[in-house]
Structure formats: C-alpha cells, structure tokens
Symmetry: C2
Subunit: 201 residues, 2 copies
C-alpha cells in the first residue's frame, strides 16, 4: 500500500476556502482532516473530540519543546498548532490528509515535510474579494478594510505555494482542487506497484 499524501491548504478570508473544502470532503470521503490543538476555552457547540483539541498552555509548550507540532501560531493570546502524530498516522495508513493553516503555518509545515503539497485558494479579483468581505453585512467599513488588508497580505505570499486554485466558480474550484489530489497519486514515486510487478516478474 502506498502512503497517503499531505496537502497544506491556505486561503484568505474571502477566498471561499471553507466552502471549497467542505465540498471536497463530501466528494472525497476518504481524505482526513487534521486536528488542531488549541489553548483557548471550548465554546458552546464545540466538543472535545472535534477538529480542535483543547489543551493547557503548559501542555502546548511541552509539545513545542518536544517537536510534536508541525506548526504553531498565536492568535488573540491563544496558541494554535497542528500535532505531527495524527497527520503521520493517517499518511502511514494510506490516507490523504488535509491541513488548513495560514501562510505562516504553511511555510512551517513545508519546511518540516517537504513532500507535502501546498495549495493556495485565491479569490478571482480584488473586486470579488472586496464584495465577499463586505457582504457579510454586519461589520463596519473599518472592519471590512482591516480584513481586506489582511487578505491581501496573505495573497502576497501565494507564490510560495505549489498550486493556486482560483475560486471564482465553486464547481470549477472544487474540480481543480480534486485534480491536484488525484494527480499526486499518479506521481511516479507514489505509483510504482504496476511497474515493479511487471519488471520483477
């Protein structure tokens, strides 16, 4: 059995990344979504066995010190990170695994796991990005501009990624995303069993 592939996904607010990922997971039920460890409190509706695992700050710092995290980050005073063990277990079991992180997290993972394939989900244009960020309706112009600046800051680093999926039309974006996943399985290094079985006959 071949090992699975690791896909690192980033995309700014307004890229529609969550919708793309949701659709990809519904079409590819065998792909695993990595878990995150986090030091903030559990919120209503969250469960201890969901995407986030709630741990203490001490435990988190111990994981950093022991090299148990593929990447970590501080956001509004809390630590967020991706445990290496869960990802490695999925890959060893032959499952593809998707890690969703920001551009800094993506760079950290790529350094530790250079075989990982990174995909940046990008809005199609400045106008669409601005419209998506404004249409949430609940925020002030100042809040919208702040998010717009943050998104553009991420897009400035999009060229660090292996692939860019432009999310103009959802169906095309999902189709393109899945073609990247499929093509990884056809990379020669991941697909030698037929060759070996014939050559070693």
């Amino acid at each position: 059995m071949n090992k699975g592939n690791l896909f690192i996904i980033s995309g700014p607010s307004g890229s529609g990344k969550d919708t793309v990922l949701q659709k990809v997971f519904s079409l590819c039920p065998n792909i695993k979504f990595s878990i995150s460890v986090i030091t903030r409190d559990m919120r209503p509706g969250e469960t201890p066995d969901g995407k986030y695992r709630f741990i203490s700050r001490e435990k988190f710092e111990e994981m950093i010190a022991n090299g148990e995290l593929l990447e970590h980050n501080v956001f509004v005073g809390n630590y967020y990170g991706t445990p290496k063990k869960y990802v490695e277990e999925q890959l060893e079991s032959g499952f593809d695994c998707i890690v969703e992180v920001d551009v800094n997290g993506a760079a950290q993972i790529k350094e530790k796991m250079p075989d990982a394939v990174s995909i940046f989900i990008c809005p199609p244009s400045f106008e669409v990005l601005k419209s998506r960020l404004s249409n949430r309706g609940t925020d002030s112009a100042e809040a919208v501009n702040k998010r717009l600046e943050a998104s553009i800051g991420e897009i400035k680093r999009a060229k660090e990624f292996d692939y860019v999926v432009v999310n103009d039309n959802l169906e095309d974006a999902v189709d393109g995303f899945i073609s990247v996943i499929k093509s990884q399985h056809l990379k020669t290094k991941n697909n030698t069993s037929a060759i070996d079985s014939i050559v070693n006959k």
Copy 2:
C-alpha cells in the same frame, strides 16, 4: 494569456496508450497533437497534412543539424522525429500539446524542454500485458514474445517519467490522465494572474 503545457506520452505495446489518447483528445478538444517528420514513403490512406509529414532523408538530416528536432529516432531504416517549431507555436498560442514518443524520445525531449511533463502509460500487470499482446490473434508465439520483451524493456524505464497512469480500466486511466493535465494549469508558475491582479491593485 498563459503558455500551454507540453506533455510527453510513452507507453509500450499492450499499454492501451492509443485508446487512452483517443479518448483524452475527444474529451479535451483544445489539446494539440504534435506532428512528426518521417523519411518513409506515404502509405495508402495517409495524407501529406496528417500526423506524419513525409520528407526526404536529406531534409531530415538538415533538420537534425540545425537543431530543429525535439527528438529523433531510426526505425526499420527510416528516420522519425518531432519538429520543435510546431510544438513551440502551440505552446506560445496557449494550447497544451501532446507528443507521443518512445522512452528514448521522451528522454531527449525532457532534456531539451525540462518543463515538459512526462506521463508513462503502463499495463496493470504482466498477465494483462501478455494477454493484450497475444489477443491480436494474428501473430506467432515468437512474435508475441518479441513484443512482450520490447514492452518490458520500455516499462523498465518508466520511473524516468513524472507520472505513471496505469491503464487497467480505460475510464479511470483517462480520468487520471486528465487530472494530470488539469493540475498543471493550477501550478503556481502557470496560474498567477488572479494573484497579480489583486496584489498590484
């Protein structure tokens, strides 16, 4: 407009390569198939403007000397080659282009155009390969064995290719092949226009 991508396709007798390619071309009408120059005589049913361009041995040797061929080969006393100009014109016009060659031709092209993406079409097993080569029905056991040896010789070099598409089930092979083509368009170096339009706003 982005330049097109060049795909180098090889696959031994018994891989079902021609059937896969036929289906890919019918599903992707915008992909161009490269032309070949050849020094043998035109056969009944062939036309001067088809896949093969029939030229004199002198003209062929002149093309070699002028570096006008991406690859060339001798087969049963005749020269076969792939003119560079036609391929480059398609790529510059934004079309993907497929060149179908043997493993030696593939290596020659990859050396001259390292950005080309090479795909090897492989039978799923020794048994299927042997059965496909035997089922032509018209050949002696000796002729079948000779083709089998030649096919295995090519499969021994499959690991030089970027991708391997195993042709067990035609539909899956075509789907995989097309995912490789699609994913190339999402490689960051081929897909920067949305990023640039937002960042340079």
